[in-house]
């Protein structure tokens, strides 16, 4: 029988020390909605489980002003949804975080866990990528910041060094006229893994796109920042030609696989469709801000 240890440190230093000391045999527990499933299936066999929810920084939501927020990596989707101002500032990020699983799962699942699980289909990741979120990471060698898109390394893998823990996501200040949105294609209306996930973040001025970021999930080994799609949108009024160009850029960025959740052809097609729909919502929200 494997003798699993459970640790619930109250400081990040303790957590990092324990995580590093376990040299690969430990797993971080935030919401646990992936970890427990993997343990049950025998895919994850941790020697130590380090619960990071007792560390205040990991469960805090900070309004940094000017639309900027800092979200603890272990904040659950349900808690984020209850924040008084976040919903208005980053509706796309919030809807993405709250598409991770059912209401029950939202009571536990966190953006940090969603990112570190390394699934290309994680719902919060494309929205965070589109938002330009920066991830704060702490490890045995101290703290560092990394753009969120630099964290995933492939299915189930991240670029985190041994012993490193994701601490928080920082969403940047937003100019007036900004809006974001996240849409995903799933066969059912709920309780599915994204076949394609699309995050779009726009800043508009006088109906013209001034800045754009596009995050695309479930179509490649990692979530993608599709810069060509953003370029196709910037400087336009989101006319049909611009949207089609951005959709084409998204389709071109896809390197999907055939699997139980979707075919290559279908995923590529859907990436283009979702770009247009998501951009329209983001633009509407930008107009309202």
């Amino acid at each position: 029988m494997t003798d699993i240890r459970y640790l619930a440190p109250s400081t990040l230093d303790e957590a990092v020390r324990a995580f590093a000391a376990a040299s690969g045999a430990a797993r971080i527990l935030a919401g646990g909605t992936d970890l427990l499933v993997q343990m049950r299936a025998g895919i994850a066999k941790p020697g130590t489980i380090i619960d990071i929810k007792k560390i205040p920084e990991l469960t805090a939501i900070e309004d940094l002003g000017g639309g900027a927020y800092r979200i603890g990596a272990a904040v659950s989707g349900a808690v984020l949804a209850e924040h008084p101002t976040f919903r208005k500032a980053w509706p796309g990020v919030l809807e993405a975080v709250n598409l991770i699983g059912s209401k029950q799962v939202q009571g536990r699942a966190s953006p940090g866990g969603n990112l570190c699980n390394g699934s290309p289909a994680g719902d919060s990741v494309p929205a965070m990528v589109a938002a330009g979120a920066v991830v704060t990471i702490q490890g045995p060698n101290g703290r560092r910041d990394l753009p969120v898109e630099k964290v995933p390394a492939g299915p189930g893998r991240t670029t985190l060094a041994p012993g490193e823990i994701v601490v928080a996501f920082t969403l940047p200040q937003r100019p007036k006229g900004s809006g974001d949105a996240y849409l995903r294609m799933i066969p059912r209306t709920e309780m599915d893994i994204a076949v394609v996930g699309m995050g779009v973040n726009l800043t508009m001025e006088g109906g013209v796109v001034k800045a754009a970021r596009v995050g695309l999930g479930a179509v490649a080994p990692t979530v993608l920042l599709v810069e060509d799609a953003a370029k196709a949108l910037i400087g336009t009024k989101l006319d049909d030609a611009a949207l089609e160009a951005a959709a084409a850029a998204c389709r071109a960025a896809c390197k999907p696989i055939n699997d139980k959740r979707g075919t290559i052809a279908y995923r590529i097609k859907v990436a283009g469709v979702l770009l247009k729909r998501t951009a329209a919502i983001a633009a509407r929200r930008a107009g309202g801000n």
Binding site: M1, D3, K103, E190
Partner: protein, 160 residues
């Protein structure tokens, strides 16, 4: 293998139990705590039959470690009725035949209660999305949704 001692509160009463670090809250409820009203349909958070609330928040007990219950307040189906007085949702489910086999019912009731606590006047769509994490294979959901809507109306009336 040494077990971990956990002190928590279940349905308003202090309880203690021993568990392995890897045991889920569902394992603890159904095992040492003897509360088999919470059901396991999948063990992967996809059916909602094991729904409970932790400090009032809805979760799947199969996706939570038992050791995490330390110091928190757990509520299960066994605590929903007050003695012989059923919760309005429980009563309405019986009156409106909103259960057939009944295996999903404890989880559905816990979810529905959590939904109505947050949103006392939900639309049909809000009820449907609020209960999307609870699979029911018998009813086609129709009578469940109606029962939740009617209970909500009745509870609003009572409050007034």
């Amino acid at each position: 293998m040494s077990k971990i001692h956990v002190s928590t509160s279940v349905n308003g009463e202090p309880v203690e139990f021993l568990c392995d670090a890897s045991a889920s809250m569902l394992d603890a409820l159904r095992g040492p705590l003897g509360l088999t009203g919470t059901k396991e349909g999948c063990g992967t958070g996809d059916c909602g039959a094991c729904s409970i609330t932790v400090d009032g928040r809805l979760v799947c007990s199969c996706l939570m470690l038992a050791v995490e219950a330390e110091g928190h307040e757990i509520a299960t189906i066994e605590g929903m009725a007050q003695g012989e007085t059923l919760h309005p949702l429980q009563r309405k489910f019986l009156e409106m035949a909103a259960l057939q086999c009944g295996i999903c019912t404890p989880g559905v009731l816990i979810s529905a209660r959590a939904l109505l606590e947050k949103n006392p006047d939900p639309t049909e769509e809000e009820v449907r999305f609020g209960l999307a994490g609870n699979l029911c294979r018998c009813t086609g959901y129709d009578k469940i949704v109606r029962a939740v809507l009617e209970t909500a109306a009745e509870m609003r009336e009572t409050v007034r």
